[in-house]
Symmetry: C2
Subunit: 459 residues, 2 copies
């Protein structure tokens, strides 16, 4: 029996143990954007440290940043000339609100119909535990075939603001041959997926300020430019009738899609009907001249993530609000520059805002899009691994989401990331009732075992 088969069997025999660890991990409300959750962030970092200790790595480091700390750990292979895989993860999760829409508590993991429900179950505590588990199964049987390094940060959900500096300062520590990033997902339980392109993200908050206090809408209605209406006007103007973003210069640096890539993307087995079902939207919508798949991964977008003004409680309150706020973010594609996007938005507002209000613009995050070499040995090893476990060739996809760390690692560490993951579109990540499809997760762990052996060139 090969080391590989023994490791695969080890998972099958110890599956419940690993799933229990995942459940304990989900119980920690590690919401990076919430200042009140700082103690939980430390708790989550320490949780990983303790698990890694239990999994045979004694020297686990919790490294400070200006924000939440990074967990780093390393396990050397017995073989001196083994290749090194740097595994990336993030232990932070999205906020759980609106809390009233959860069927069960977001931080009390619950299994229903083969799914494990809880905030972070899919994004990406499940993926982290899958990676740790694959490593641990091999390590429990015999020597690991590659050197493994873990870098698990705590600020991905807020745009990894301190990771670039961390990478710059720890280049030697993070030296590797390839980066494995399991923070992407699969198209469906049948189709394992490798992601070769990711969008970038820039995120802003715009505040429009009118009168210096909320006004009685009867006493003052008729002489005030209502900030909620001014904000609505600005938001409306941000797209034209073809749903192109109107920020001046927004498309200047966008690399156009080649006919070849469009042809390849058109073969992905994702229909508009699938997307309608996944989103529950009455109809799909978007930029004219592009297919849904193209619009999702290969074209930039501008979204309103949130909006708040005046009275929003039950019933009625007759005021003209003194201010209005919108969270505005753009998903960008290669080669859009986050700094230029900020400037474009600023220019747009200056051009379009009336003199009847004051405004201010805050930036929360800005990260580049990225695109990877699909003939990298790491990609080949992963492709084969997924094929072994699923019985079909994996799909290659451009992902609409953003993992700023991928572009940052490419730029700073000079290494490509191999992007995969075992989340599904139905997982409702970032939404109420996030869950993880456990059968897919288990297959994912097994395929990661294959990946390590494949990449090392071992049977």
């Amino acid at each position: 029996m090969s080391l590989r088969s023994e490791a695969l069997d080890y998972i099958k025999n110890n599956y419940d143990f690993y799933q229990g660890i995942l459940q304990d991990f989900i119980k920690i409300p590690s919401i990076s954007t919430d200042p009140n959750r700082k103690p939980n962030m430390l708790e989550a970092a320490n949780f990983i440290k303790e698990i890694l200790n239990e999994f045979g790595i004694q020297d686990v480091q919790i490294l400070e940043t200006k924000g939440h700390p990074v967990v780093f750990a390393e396990k050397k292979s017995a073989s001196k000339d083994a290749l090194t895989v740097l595994i990336y993860g993030h232990y932070d999760v999205q906020p759980s609100d609106p809390i009233e829409l959860w069927d069960t508590d977001p931080f009390t993991p619950t299994i229903r119909n083969d799914r494990l429900f809880g905030r972070g179950a899919s994004d990406m505590k499940g993926q982290i535990i899958a990676s740790l588990t694959a490593y641990h199964a091999i390590n429990s049987i015999g020597p690991i075939p590659v050197n493994i390094k873990f870098i698990i940060e705590g600020e991905e959900e807020i745009g990894s603001p301190n990771l670039a500096e961390f990478l710059e300062n720890n280049k030697e520590l993070l030296k590797c041959d390839v980066i494995l990033n399991p923070d992407a997902g699969m198209i469906s339980p049948e189709y394992p997926t490798i992601v070769y392109g990711l969008r970038g993200l820039t995120y802003f908050e715009l505040n429009i300020n009118g009168p210096d206090h909320d006004l009685h809408s009867g006493m003052f209605g008729g002489i005030i430019h209502n900030p909620a209406i001014v904000l609505s006007e600005l938001i409306t103007k941000m797209h034209d009738e073809n749903w192109k973003v109107t920020l001046p210069g927004f498309y200047d640096d966008v690399i156009p899609l080649s006919d070849e890539e469009r042809e390849k993307l058109s073969r992905l087995p994702i229909s508009d009907e699938d997307l309608k079902r996944q989103t529950g939207a009455p109809a799909l919508f978007g930029e004219k001249g592009y297919s849904s798949i193209e619009r999702l991964g290969a074209r930039p977008t501008l979204e309103i993530n949130g909006m708040l003004s005046g009275f929003t409680g039950e019933g009625s309150k007759t005021i003209i609000p003194s201010s209005a706020m919108a969270k505005i973010s753009m998903r960008t594609v290669p080669n859009q520059d986050p700094d230029k996007i900020y400037q474009q938005l600023k220019n747009f507002i200056e051009l379009n805002v009336p003199q009847t209000v004051k405004w201010d613009l805050k930036q929360f995050a800005g990260g580049w899009a990225s695109i990877s070499d699909i003939s990298h040995p790491g990609v080949i090893a992963l492709k084969k691994a997924l094929e072994t476990e699923w019985g079909i060739e994996p799909l290659f996809k451009r992902e609409g989401g953003s993992i700023p760390v991928v572009a940052a690692m490419q730029r700073i560490l000079g290494k490509d990331s191999v992007l995969t993951g075992f989340g599904l579109p139905e997982d409702k990540i970032h939404s109420p009732n996030e869950s993880l499809h456990l059968p897919t997760w288990k297959k994912g762990i097994l395929s990661l075992i294959h990946f390590f052996f494949n990449y090392a060139g071992m049977e």
Copy 2:
């Protein structure tokens, strides 16, 4: 010494006692729109009952409606053919949020610089206590010169949804010669004001629903018509470039302003600079072709009172919100019909909403505008009363606010209301740090004493 002079002196000698009663009244958080405040609503109704008992009226009735109860009380004059004044008031107040913007607790009355701070101090607990006080001072000296009835409701701030039915069912009880409504205000401490026109109010909540859950803005950005943007587009379209409301038929029933009235309104001593100062807005704004005074009282408006969508907490959350909500209200003028306004808004949405979303529209309130006869004996009595106390002729003004009860009483009881009040534009009613200017309030009480004697035709 006349009865009138003795009553005026009585106020001067007992001012602190009456002001203490007002403070106790403000302590009750009688927010009619908040279901959690229902016990406080009853507490406020009972408070008035107890004060009236103390003020010599034993038979005070707390009359049920489908919503909050109405307080009714009556005191007969000794003279058999005395005229009857029905005094209207409302014991409910606006919500206190945003609570963090109050310098002192909204329900802990506090005096600073001649002003009494607290929710409802000006709108209209101060005005109710002024009326009760004027009555009580006269009653303490001798027989009152007119019959007085009090009707004090608890739903004015939510549009008096049950008052019309109450009036219909209690016509006999409410029989009177004139209605005194002190829920209007003054232009400035120097200018006593009589209001002869009021705008109507219709209030709605519009919900736009897109995907059936909040979506990850990366995974799904590019294929979804963002509900916050759809709502913004609808809001934007509700006005044209001249800031006319675009609801189909909105101006059809509006009675145009006569040249004579425009000329009279132009003489009101309220400058654009005054209005800018009162609102703190960077600039004034509104419908083209009309002066600020005209736009404030004699022209209809459409305002957004509140707006909510997606993530509005600190920091960033990368979602496409599943829904977006706006509170939308119109201040109407004679002869706009609230039912037609509802239909116009519905038609507007049907015409303009895209197929990519679902929507629903709730109506919270709908009341007619009103306009009164300025040669009514009650108006003449009040005009003389205010002139005596302030030393100048009062101003006649159209008010931008809405008191649905005025139109309802005109329609159902067949009587005109005499509208005045001792609130000032600086009182910040409906806003944080609402307050009452106490010297003006005191003058108001004295002028109400004059009013009762004037109306009875007594020295």
